[in-house]
């Protein structure tokens, strides 16, 4: 079970609403099943009581919704932020994307969210999903109950959680955690150790599945351009479908580049990809390069940080030195 129950959050939200601190709540809304949870704006206590959920499937990061939501009204909106969400929150503030004064942020601890795709890989026809300690019990329609180790079916980003610490909030429920030395760059390092041919084959296989649905871009809290270059018919690259394998690569390279230095590694891109492409690896490659070339940098850790890509020193390494480093085949 999560330490913080749904009721605690509902009560907190109701309390803030009746006190007039906020007039609406950005929260997770119950779906048809245990796992299909939708981000929603709750404006009455009644709605909160009936439809608010907090369970293993509340992966959605609300930070980006704040841009639209804060433009709607002069009143404050309550937002629940998991530790990783707070980094996106800060990054958006750094970029002046929403008005901090219109938000009341409540930090909530998180034990990691479960990846439904992972569960469904082995189990189809699911009646219900229950949490019990470190296990997840999947009740199926035809094959009885299946017990899974919770740690095995966490979202990738949660398996490699980088921080249980909230870096922004007005109020915190429960105890704050710590920044974690995670193994999140291991996969990047593994790829770097492969030969160029192997890496090419790996990405060719992964990116060839892209259907250009733009879900990665549209969910990304760093992708907040009013008009994306890939939507602009005059850009010459407004490619609605991957008509050639080149275009898949271009889209993903450019997208990762556009968020380089601003990506907080929230992992939403990989979570939502309908084709299961490990897009976070591209972002992490940039993060790990930035760390290595220009010093440790975590986007969103503080408001007002200058992103490394809009910064420089006269002593930076040369592009020629940037390649072929750190185990990459020479």
């Amino acid at each position: 079970m999560q330490e913080i129950t749904r009721d605690v959050l509902v009560n907190k939200a109701s309390e803030l609403m009746s006190a007039g601190t906020v007039d609406r709540v950005l929260g997770w809304m119950r779906g048809e099943f245990d796992y299909d949870i939708t981000p929603a704006v709750f404006s009455t206590e009644e709605e909160l009581k009936n439809n608010f959920v907090w369970n293993d499937f509340c992966g959605a990061n609300f930070s980006k919704y704040l841009i639209r939501e804060t433009q709607k009204s002069e009143n404050k909106v309550l937002v629940f932020l998991k530790p990783c969400d707070t980094y996106s929150f800060n990054q958006l503030l750094t970029e002046h994307r929403f008005d901090r004064e219109k938000v009341y942020a409540v930090g909530i601890p998180c034990n990691g969210m479960v990846d439904m795709t992972e569960i469904k890989k082995a189990n189809e026809a699911i009646k219900a999903i229950e949490e019990s300690g470190d296990s997840i019990v999947v009740k199926t329609l035809y094959d009885g109950d299946v017990t899974l180790d919770r740690a095995d079916v966490l979202l990738e980003r949660c398996k490699n959680c980088k921080s249980k610490k909230h870096v922004a909030y007005d109020e915190l429920i429960g105890d704050d955690g710590e920044i974690i030395e995670s193994a999140r760059f291991d996969e990047v390092a593994k790829l770097e150790k492969m030969t160029a041919d192997e890496r090419y084959a790996f990405w060719q296989n992964e990116l060839s599945r892209c259907i250009r649905c733009n879900a990665c871009r549209d969910i990304c809290p760093a992708c907040t351009c009013e008009k994306c270059v890939f939507d602009n018919p005059n850009s010459g690259v407004e490619n609605k479908a991957p008509a050639d394998s080149f275009e898949e690569k271009m889209f993903h390279i450019i997208r990762a580049f556009h968020v380089a230095g601003r990506c907080t590694d929230c992992g939403e891109c990989s979570r939502v990809c309908p084709q299961g492409i490990p897009l976070h690896l591209l972002n992490r490659k940039f993060i790990s390069d930035i760390n290595e070339f220009y010093g440790e940098y975590q986007a969103g850790s503080e408001v007002g940080n200058r992103a490394p890509i809009v910064n420089y020193t006269t002593e930076d390494l040369e592009p020629g030195e940037a390649v072929g480093r750190g185990g990459i085949d020479a």
Binding site: G31, E32, F33, Y35, D36, I37, T38, P39, A40, V41, A60, Y65, M116, K120, K121, E124, A125, I126, K127, L141, Y142, R209, I211, R212, C213, N214, A215, R217, D218, I219, D231, P233, E238, N239, K240, A241, P242, A243, R271, V272, P274, Q275, G276
Partner: protein
């Protein structure tokens, strides 16, 4: 009706593959997908493929024609060629139904010859769903997953595969398979059908119904206040449209290759902000309008123009894939009055 024992499936596939390219669902790390059968490829047990079967007839991108330009002159090069025969095995009842829905768009006058070409050269072997999932609601749209259509319908039991030809194309193929299959009585497949029927009736979405939608409901639903809440968190991505077996909106674009121009067609999504952008402006400016368009099209506009046939087949892909878990079931329940509530 014919039957073949399951341990001879490879024989069946190799026999079919002798005369035409055979596609079937195979397992990958990221769910099942249709792949060309070759020796060693195993039929997936998954309920359905991640991407729908519409790709066979309406691929994500296809070249329509080429142009060569020289000075003020233009040469139009018709690049069409006769499609090779192919067979798709293991298509579920919902996806088979989606072909009928696409047919009514692409085969309506004026006929889309790119679509028709592939449609005429493809043979569909459907397969009944032994284990329909919680996200299935094909029954809502009058589809019976225990009696799939297609050119040949099949039922898989614990030890055998039953095959029943449904069309002329199917009969031709099935008769070519006579020497490796054995005769079976219709009654032999009945227990399996009954089992599936019973399972379908017990699905969580079995009660979802359509009486609030369909022909003539446009004005009633168009201004419904519920659209605002429903579309509130929609990201405007194209996931639902691209995994949907019936979404068929497309765009035609030109690509200058440096030695000519290729005009190609690609899937487009009514959820995209630029979808209806024309020289004079954009017809649907808000996400609410775009969101409404998608569901109104499936549940009202399409049936209005097509004798009440809905353009959703209840395959459940959008339920599984939407990044924010908004889907047609939630829309139907919210707009469908008391019955669906």
């Amino acid at each position: 009706m014919r039957k073949i024992s399951l341990d001879k499936l490879d024989l069946l596939f190799s026999e079919i593959a002798k005369s035409a390219k055979l596609y079937l669902p195979v397992d990958t790390d990221n769910g099942a997908k249709y792949d060309v059968w070759e020796d060693g490829k195993k039929l997936s047990d998954a309920l359905n493929t991640v991407r729908s079967a519409k790709d066979f007839f309406f691929p994500q991108t296809e070249n329509l024609m080429d142009f060569k330009m020289s000075g003020k002159n233009i040469e139009i090069i018709d690049t069409r060629s006769e499609c090779e025969d192919f067979v798709v095995f293991g298509v579920r009842a919902c996806d088979v139904k989606s072909f009928e829905i696409l047919d009514r768009v692409f085969l309506a006058d004026p006929v889309d010859t790119f679509y028709k070409n592939r449609r005429e050269h493809g043979v569909i072997i459907s397969m009944a769903c032994n284990k329909p999932a919680e996200t299935c609601f094909c029954k809502t749209f009058g589809i019976d997953a225990s009696e799939p259509c297609g050119d040949i319908a099949t039922w898989k039991t614990d030890d055998a595969l039953f095959l029943d030809a449904k069309t002329e194309k199917g009969e031709k193929l099935l008769s070519a398979l006579e020497k490796i299959t054995e005769a079976a009585k219709d009654a032999d497949a009945e227990p399996q059908k009954a089992l599936i029927k019973e399972r379908l009736a017990r699905l969580p979405l079995a009660e979802l119904e359509t009486s609030a939608f369909g022909n003539g409901k446009t004005n009633e639903l168009f201004n419904a206040p519920e659209w605002k809440d429903l579309s509130e968190s929609c990201l405007g991505c194209g996931t639902c449209t691209f995994v949907c077996p019936t979404c068929q909106c497309y765009d035609i674009k030109d690509f200058n290759t440096g030695n000519g121009v290729k005009r190609f067609r690609c899937w487009d999504s009514c959820m995209y902000s630029e979808f209806t952008r024309m020289a004079h402006g954009n017809n649907r400016l808000s996400q609410l309008e775009r969101f409404r368009q998608r569901f109104m099209h499936k549940l009202v506009y399409y049936p209005t123009n097509n004798d009440g046939l809905f353009s959703c087949v209840g395959c459940g892909r959008c339920i599984n894939k939407c990044p924010i878990n908004m889907n047609i079931v939630k829309v139907m329940k919210k707009l469908g009055g008391k019955k669906n509530g």
